[in-house]
């Protein structure tokens, strides 16, 4: 979907159409979650602080997000996808990978399917969508950016090499701001620059991701479209009305976050070994602190550890956002080699105090 949240708002509220709209927090605090194309012309981008966005575009209209509404539409869009194939891997509320090698209508061309899907989204829901078509997930995602908004593009195997060589490094899917900065320091500005480096060099510089970068610039991405992608972490966060200065104040808002986290853990039925505390400072720099136990954390553990993490080191400056996340889940394939624990050993002593 193109500027999904913003487009939904413009669709639902005709007054907003043709105007620069930012979905997100208010003008003073908060962050832009999505910007309409009219707003993007002013340089407003998602994840930008509302304050800066307002400076860039004084006529910017801030709209509160309505996630429930977006979710409903997201499901409707996904249903359209499923009409063509069961191999749908959601990437976010408004994006998904579709493997249409074999599709339910036996259509011979992916381009044709993309056209149909986009037309149905427009007709049945009323939103513009863009599509990218290629022979792997990475290239399809890159292709989807080419003719945005409301367009589609194909990268054929023949075109891939040349296209990737010319592609600016920050437009590679999976290379974010931090990595692209690092690469630029190494003189890597586009795909061709990246291609000059050996696999050995890239793995030494970027660890595991090195191999990934080495492959994608050559158009290689073997990851299949996985309709059951397992959740790897679960987190909740809260941007405060006013910056928080003291650990004791963080400690007070912690219980609300914990309630939300526990609710999500219950709902998703996950168990994790790692708890991460995320702090975003006044200047938008971010810090994470985490603790891992060699067993699954109970609610009581999470309570205790979250407190410890808050006090682990002193705050550098006022805090605008705090988040808590659980990760390091029990993956089915990792179950072998797991040291078992005595059953019902801890229930009475540690798991009782989760209602307060």
């Amino acid at each position: 979907m193109d500027a999904f949240f913003a487009s939904v708002e413009q669709m639902d509220f005709p007054d907003l159409r043709g105007k620069p709209v930012a979905v997100g927090g208010n003008r003073e605090r908060g962050v832009v979650a999505a910007a309409s194309y009219e707003a993007r012309k002013f340089g407003v981008k998602s994840a930008m602080s509302s304050k800066i966005a307002a400076l860039k575009c004084p006529s910017l209209i801030f709209v509160k997000p309505r996630f429930e509404r977006y979710k409903v539409l997201s499901v409707q869009i996904r249903d359209i996808f499923f009409a063509y194939t069961d191999l749908v891997e959601p990437l976010s509320l408004d994006e998904a990978f579709l493997d249409v090698t074999e599709n339910k209508f036996n259509l011979p061309s992916a381009t044709l399917i993309a056209k149909e899907i986009r037309a149905r989204i427009k007709a049945e829901i009323g939103l513009n969508a863009s599509a990218g078509i290629s022979y792997n997930k990475f290239l399809a995602k890159v292709a989807s950016d080419i003719n945005k908004p409301n367009g589609q593009a194909v990268i054929t195997p023949r075109q891939a090499t040349e296209f990737l060589e010319k592609l600016e490094i920050e437009r590679f899917f999976g290379i974010g701001k931090v990595t692209s900065e690092k690469m630029k320091k190494l003189g890597i500005h586009n795909g061709l620059d990246l291609k000059q480096y050996s696999l050995d060099f890239l793995t030494r510089r970027f660890g595991k991701s090195g191999l990934h970068y080495y492959n994608i610039v050559r158009g290689i991405h073997e990851s299949p479209v996985n309709p059951h992608r397992d959740r790897k972490s679960l987190s909740v966060e809260n941007t405060f009305e006013k910056d928080i200065h003291l650990e004791t104040e963080l400690d007070q808002v912690r219980s609300d976050l914990l309630d939300e986290l526990f609710r999500r853990i219950e709902k998703n039925k996950v168990q994790g070994r790692t708890l991460t505390l995320k702090l975003k400072y006044k200047d938008f720099t971010q810090q994470t602190r985490s603790k891992t136990l060699n067993r699954f954390l109970t609610q009581e553990d999470i309570r205790v550890l979250s407190k410890e993490l808050i006090y682990q080191e002193s705050l550098k400056m006022p805090i605008r956002l705090m988040g808590l996340g659980l990760s390091n889940f029990d993956q089915e394939e990792e179950k072998a080699g797991i040291q078992l624990v005595f059953e019902r050993f801890f229930e009475d002593s540690t798991d009782q105090s989760n209602e307060d």
Partner: protein, 374 residues
């Protein structure tokens, strides 16, 4: 204030309580020994607030007095002095301490003894008498199975259940459990306490090699150990210990009896080839043959051995953490042991084939889930 004491005798006494002193204590004065002289008797106290140890030594002193002496620098000094009488002179105003020996003079800054935290007194105590041998056996048999998990403090100590017929020591980390019972000691009153690992480790290091009587006084919050010329007082862990009796299986009817040393040596060799994080070894019982194997897929390492054993029950394949098994077998004092299983995902029991008089030991270990690629 002034006193004279033998350098080696003082060092010996200080060394026996020095383990309590931590390098970075909550209260800085705890980096000191508290010296208290009364009627030519020097009482030295070391403490970390949770655990305190006290020892007494005769000295030559004309007057009474107290001072806190930096532990590390004093021990170092005494270690490096040849045996001789040394004189301590303390300035009551500045708390400065001067040690003079045949070799020379050493000056160090002491602290006001009144700043040293007060050591708790155990009131309304129940007293149990035992011997250092019994206590040291109990500690050695259990302490290795305590947990490091600070979020579950109950398991970071050894649970001691006292009754009028026996005393039971239990340690567990949730994966394995040791129950060590003595029927030759008893308590006038039934009680349960959890003694922290640090205190037990200190006792283990300090208990004399010859067997002497030891008196243990305890109430709800503290335990007090008295033996030879040493006293130790420790704060108890005030937590509920897991309901351990419930996890001891009663229906493990698949029995394997095997020579302990043979089994242990084999496990030690096989463990070298096991995965470095799980230490997983596979025990495969087919009739009276035990096959022990391990593999580390990351390094393409693998090993297997075959041993003969006595076996009663169905053939079974079960995985364990080799480190746990090795530790447990190391701590059993018997020629043969019996392993009792029920299923690859249920706790296994390890028992010595013949028990020593007055003691009863039971070890329990949870398996590691086996993968099925072999």
């Amino acid at each position: 204030m002034k006193f004279i004491v033998s350098s080696s005798s003082l060092l010996k006494h200080l060394s026996s309580i020095n383990g309590v002193v931590t390098t970075n204590p909550v209260v800085p004065i705890l980096e000191n020994f508290l010296f208290e002289i009364k009627d030519s008797k020097l009482t030295v106290t070391a403490s970390d607030l949770q655990t305190s140890m006290i020892t007494e030594i005769d000295v030559e002193a004309k007057e009474d007095g107290n001072i806190a002496v930096p532990a590390k620098i004093l021990i170092e000094t005494l270690k490096n002095l040849p045996e001789q009488p040394v004189t301590f002179s303390i300035d009551k105003e500045t708390y400065s301490i001067e040690i003079s020996s045949d070799n020379g003079r050493y000056k160090l800054a002491g602290e006001n003894a009144t700043d040293f935290p007060k050591i708790p007194v155990v009131t309304n105590a129940t007293t149990v008498d035992m011997s250092t041998e019994v206590l040291s056996n109990a500690i050695n048999n259990t302490i290795f199975a305590t947990s490091n998990d600070e979020l579950r403090p109950a398991m970071t100590g050894v649970y001691v259940n006292l009754s009028d017929t026996n005393v039971t020591f239990v340690a567990t980390d949730g994966h394995r459990l040791i129950r060590y019972r003595r029927v030759d000691i008893a308590s006038p009153e039934a009680a349960s306490i959890i003694i922290p690992r640090k205190a037990l480790n200190l006792l283990k290091a300090t208990l004399p090699s010859e067997n002497v009587p030891i008196a243990v006084d305890f109430n709800n919050s503290n335990a007090y150990f008295r033996f030879s010329n040493i006293k130790m007082i420790c704060r108890l862990i005030d937590e509920r210990f897991p309901d351990y009796e419930n996890v001891i299986p009663l229906d493990n009817n698949n029995d394997m009896t095997i020579d302990r040393m043979e089994f242990l040596s084999s496990l030690r060799r096989i463990a070298i080839y096991a995965n470095k994080t799980t230490h997983q070894v596979r025990l495969k019982l087919t009739g009276s043959e035990l096959q022990i194997s391990a593999e580390d897929l990351d390094f393409s390492n693998e090993a297997n051995e075959r041993l003969s054993c006595e076996h009663e029950g169905e053939d079974i394949e079960i995985g364990f953490n080799a480190k746990f098994l090795v530790e447990m077998l190391n701590n059993i004092n018997a020629k043969e042991i019996t392993l009792k299983f029920s299923a690859p995902n249920r706790a296994g029991l390890i028992l010595p084939s013949d028990m020593k008089e007055n003691e009863d030991i039971l070890m329990l270990v949870m398996p590691v889930m086996l993968s099925n690629y072999v």
